[in-house]
């Protein structure tokens, strides 16, 4: 098992936002999580990426319990994520944003900084290379020095991908990566996600765009009121009565 949650739960006051969820993510695949609004999808991501500590249950990564690790340590292990509301360093430009993404793979400390050691220079060079590389990977080379605040929604989504990629992740969690993006560009972003998967990066994403999920996902989990109500291939999910009732409604195939 690559990433696995065991009876994972999170309580907010009187509300069980995530309730006893067992789920496993397959390496190298595209996994998806769907479910009604407030089902607990984002909370589930937050538990895995270390933003929240579980109330009970565990998160295992490659057989190791990471439930209590802080977010930055989890990122260091190779687990990257994006946020539901696009979250970037608004005042910096694209390059400056992305170059920070690689800093977790650097060792330079204060000493290196003050004395401009060889290590620092090398690492800085490497970070810059990495940044340029992922910027070109997500297709933003031509706006590399534009402040993020001036970008469109879709470009910002791409920056968010680039930021996550710059951390050299093994797995990326994407929270509604195409929300507010038009169909045309949604397809381009889907292609980008596929491209990431082809590079060997495991993907786990939340989306409400069923058409895209059906095309992309190898495996889908459905949450409702914090509980897992279904799990399976797109086809299985598409036909699941409970899922249709709780989530998809009549437009399931749209």
């Amino acid at each position: 098992m690559y990433i696995e949650t065991k009876e994972l739960s999170k309580q907010f006051g009187g509300l069980r936002a995530v309730n006893n969820v067992d789920f496993s993510i397959d390496k190298g695949k595209i996994n998806a999580i769907i479910g009604p609004n407030g089902a607990g999808k984002t909370t589930f991501f937050n538990l895995i990426s270390g933003v929240y500590k579980p109330t009970s249950g565990q998160v295992m990564f490659k057989g190791k319990d990471i439930s209590t690790l802080p977010a930055n340590k989890i990122a260091e292990l190779g687990v990257a994520r994006t946020f539901q509301t696009t979250h970037l360093f608004e005042k910096s430009n694209v390059f400056e944003n992305v170059v920070v993404g690689h800093s977790l793979r650097t060792q330079s400390n204060l000493w290196d900084a003050i004395f401009r050691t060889k290590r620092l220079k090398q690492e800085q060079e490497r970070s810059n290379q990495k940044a340029l590389e992922v910027i070109s990977f997500v297709g933003l080379s031509n706006v590399a020095d534009v402040p993020v605040a001036n970008l469109s929604q879709e470009e910002k989504k791409r920056v968010a991908f680039a930021l996550a990629l710059a951390t050299d992740p093994e797995i990326i969690f994407l929270d509604e990566p195409t929300a507010g993006v038009n169909p045309d560009e949604t397809e381009e972003l889907s292609a980008l996600i596929k491209k990431m998967a082809q590079q060997g990066i495991t993907i786990c994403l939340i989306e409400h765009k069923m058409k895209m999920i059906m095309e992309l996902a190898d495996k889908i989990m459905v949450l409702n009121y914090g509980e897992k109500i279904a799990e399976g291939t797109p086809n299985e999910i598409n036909q699941n009565e409970e899922v249709i009732r709780a989530y998809l409604g009549g437009s399931a195939s749209a």
Partner: protein
């Protein structure tokens, strides 16, 4: 990337002027005020690392300044440690105390952090004030020695002190310049921009915030120690919140989070307030509104004013690029 170069030239230009300044004036008073300004600048740079680059506003800065000052004062006066050793130890002592405080203080965020440190600063001030068996309390600590001679170099004269402190300032700016323009500096800025995002990118916000905090206390302590050796008398007031506000004012007026802001802001405000002395009772009546106006009309500080001109240019480029993209 390009931005830093202009900043660098501003800094270098100003420092050149500072280097030559004594050659053009024999006025002891000018030299004195300039020397004192240099000391404030060092402290302001410390504040800038934390408030400007990391986004945490510490209102205990004068407290750490005072710790550095009293460390030097007490070491030389009461423990009779040699000046240079004391000057070396004072910032280190400040840093150690800063580390301890930072460890707890940094659990809080934003305004909570500001007020938390306000209280810490106040407690430091009260401790200096009340612990008179150690600090001499309100009576003040007298008889702090000048820097002792190094070989043929003596620090008796104003000019010698001026250059001595200028050199320390140069050293501080150099160190800060290097830190800010390195991976470490980038991490700090990332924390300022969004702590949550920084964390999700694997940046240990805890560690880096603490680093920034400790660095800021180091420079506060260093400045404090220099202050002690320059004024050679210490009273508890040096740790009061008013001093923190002064330092903050220098920083904001100059331009927070910029490399040349601390120099420009300090010079401007210090000389402004000196030159308003002739107004006597009306001084603060004028100075207060002037300060407010300065902030209103130049909300990003003097340095910010210049860089917004440049941003206009940048924006034009963005426009061009967008058009190019659409054509492609």
């Amino acid at each position: 990337m390009i931005k830093n170069n202009t900043q660098k030239y501003i800094v270098l230009g100003l420092l050149l002027v500072a280097l030559l300044f004594p050659l053009f004036t024999q006025n002891n008073y000018y030299i004195h005020v300039m020397t004192l300004s240099f000391i404030w600048m060092i402290a302001v740079y410390g504040l800038n690392i934390l408030a400007g680059y990391t986004g945490y506003l510490s209102l205990a800065h004068a407290g750490f300044f005072a710790i550095g000052a009293y460390a030097l004062g007490l070491l030389t006066v009461k423990a009779e440690v040699g000046f240079w050793l004391a000057l070396f130890l004072a910032p280190i002592i400040t840093t150690i105390i800063g580390f301890g405080i930072g460890l707890i203080a940094l659990r809080t965020k934003e305004h909570f952090f500001a007020i938390y440190t306000l209280c810490v600063g106040y407690v430091i001030y009260l401790l200096i004030d009340k612990w008179d068996s150690l600090t001499e309390g309100v009576r003040g600590l007298m008889g702090i020695p000048l820097p002792s001679d190094i070989g043929p170099i003596s620090f008796e004269s104003n000019i010698a002190q001026y250059y001595f402190i200028l050199v320390v300032l140069l050293f501080s700016i150099f160190v800060i310049y290097r830190i800010v323009n390195s991976i470490v500096g980038r991490k700090l800025v990332a924390i300022r921009n969004s702590e949550q995002l920084a964390l999700s990118l694997g940046i240990s916000t805890k560690k880096n915030k603490l680093l920034a905090f400790v660095l800021s206390t180091f420079f506060a302590g260093l400045a404090g120690a220099l202050y002690a050796s320059f004024i050679r008398f210490l009273g508890p007031d040096i740790g009061s919140t008013n001093i923190t506000f002064d330092l903050l004012m220098y920083l904001i007026v100059g331009g927070i989070g910029t490399l040349s802001g601390p120099i420009i802001g300090t010079l401007l405000v210090v000389w402004l307030s000196q030159n308003l002395q002739f107004l006597q009772d009306y001084r603060m009546l004028i100075f207060g509104p002037l300060l407010a106006l300065l902030i209103i009309f130049s909300p990003r500080g003097i340095v910010g004013m210049f860089s917004s001109m440049k941003q206009n240019l940048q924006q034009k480029r963005t426009l061009r690029q967008k058009e190019q993209k659409k054509e492609a």
